[in-house]
Amino acid sequence: MKKGMIKATDAFERIVHWSLAISCIVLMISGLGMMFHSLNFLAVPVGGLKNLKLIHNFTGLFFIASLFFAVLMWWREAGVFEFPEDAEWIKVAGGYLWHVDSVPEVGKYNPGQKMFFLAVAIFGAAMAVSGLMMWFPLSFGAGLVRFMYFLHALGFVVIFAFFFVHLYLGTIGSPGSLPAMTSGWVTRAWLMKQHPKWLKETEHKGRLVVYGKEPAPREGQGHHA
């Protein structure tokens, strides 16, 4: 690791992220296997659709737990829009879609990420509630259950789409992002591009952890903030 890399996330954060990510992927794959007859073959490796259903249901529980921690951890940083900078950022679409000379500086998470977080949080919760009710539908009224099927499908549409956005921007669409969720160490350049405001504030507070430098005198950063 090069000197000067900056620690953007701690281990807990990354564990939650990947729990969420993996459960989400499993849920999507198993869900797709049940949603489309043409994808029923996805159940073959697990020994049939019934097992796929069980995997889907129990992964759902894992997803719910992950989501719970994710929301708990991120809702302040990623769940609340800051004005006016977030609005400014949105006006230029964060510079993703057309060239802008300078992208308004935003906090640790930009409004795009906040939107993604909110989508995951809201629709994830919707998936959790509707999923649980679909698991035990006999305890609820038919009208309610029917709505839950609709909600589950709607949530899927949103999350499935956002998943690919996230995948793209977390990898090739925004090079340098991936390490934030792998090792947790990112480059200053990437931070300057993506989260300049956070970089400056953290640095200003003296909480920035830089590889090869003495740790800051005061503890605490990341999700403990």
Binding site: M5, Y149, F156, P175, Q194
Partner: protein
């Protein structure tokens, strides 16, 4: 409904509620009789159950003139042309047969219960012990051997008949005409005007709204249609759009790479 389809006609005005059909169904399908209680009605079990695929409903009804009627209606799967249950079934356990009826292959059923709520008639029933869903398949095994459904075979009064769709529709409408002549002005055919036409038709002596547990305008629930006909393709469309968009973004706009000088402190 296609011309090659078959239909079971239930003429409620000929039914004596002997419930031979209810027993014949259990006999052919090897469904057990379970211990029930009398709840103050002849109707027993109280509703369709996983082990009761057809049930005669008993209903005391006094019309406007105070004339008492005891209405009997054999309830069970209506075998819709546009069947909500088939629409939602993830495993293909529920399927359209070559007779136009809705069959069920329980080896494929995964117990997801989605069909329970997709059915406008609330027909499919779930059994916890086997984690499977059960419903009438209009004796698919018998039909394939050229036999009548067990219920039809058992019916002594001719309240249940079975045949090609056109014939049965004609029979049903002719019967309704007869009934109208014979003091049943509200007689009607129920089943051919919704969900693409059901493969179980009723001749009702009274208006449909008079009968217990009989939907007046049954339809596959809107939520199911939104889910299966709209959101399901949309999910692929949206995801596909995103992937395509990302690709275009990558090749047109390029990735959002860190600025060269942004790394100035990295030493």
């Amino acid at each position: 409904m296609k011309g090659t389809d078959f239909v079971k006609l239930i003429d409620t005005t000929r039914c004596t509620a002997c419930r031979g059909c209810q027993v014949a169904c259990k006999q052919w399908n090897e469904m057990p009789g379970l211990r029930t209680r009398n709840r103050g009605s002849y109707q027993n079990p109280p509703d369709l159950e996983w082990n009761t695929w057809t049930l005669v409903r008993f209903q005391e009804h006094e019309n406007g003139d105070g004339v008492l009627q005891w209405l009997f209606r054999k309830d069970g799967c209506m075998h819709c042309t546009d069947a909500g249950c088939v629409k939602v079934c993830p495993s293909g356990a529920l399927f359209y047969t070559e007779f136009g009826t809705v069959g069920i292959d329980r080896t494929k059923c995964i117990g997801c219960k989605e069909c329970l709520f997709a059915c406008p008639f609330e027909v499919p029933k779930y059994d916890r012990a086997t984690d499977k869903v059960f419903k009438c398949d209009l004796c698919y095994t018998r039909l394939r051997e050229g036999l009548l459904p067990a219920c039809v075979k058992s019916c002594p009064t001719g309240a249940l008949t079975f045949g090609a769709v056109d014939t049965m529709l004609k029979t049903a409408y002719a019967r309704v005409e007869d009934l109208k002549q014979d003091g049943h002005p509200d007689a009607n055919v129920y089943g051919d005007k919704f969900v693409g036409g059901t493969h179980v038709l009723y001749v009702l002596g009274e208006k449909p709204e008079i009968y217990d547990s009989l939907p007046q305008k049954p339809a596959v629930p809107l939520t199911v249609i939104a889910w299966k006909d709209f959101l399901k393709p949309l999910s692929l469309l949206a995801a596909g759009g995103v992937i395509l968009g990302s690709f275009l973004h990558y090749i047109i706009h390029g990735p959002k790479s860190p600025d060269e000088n942004g790394d100035r402190d990295a030493t």
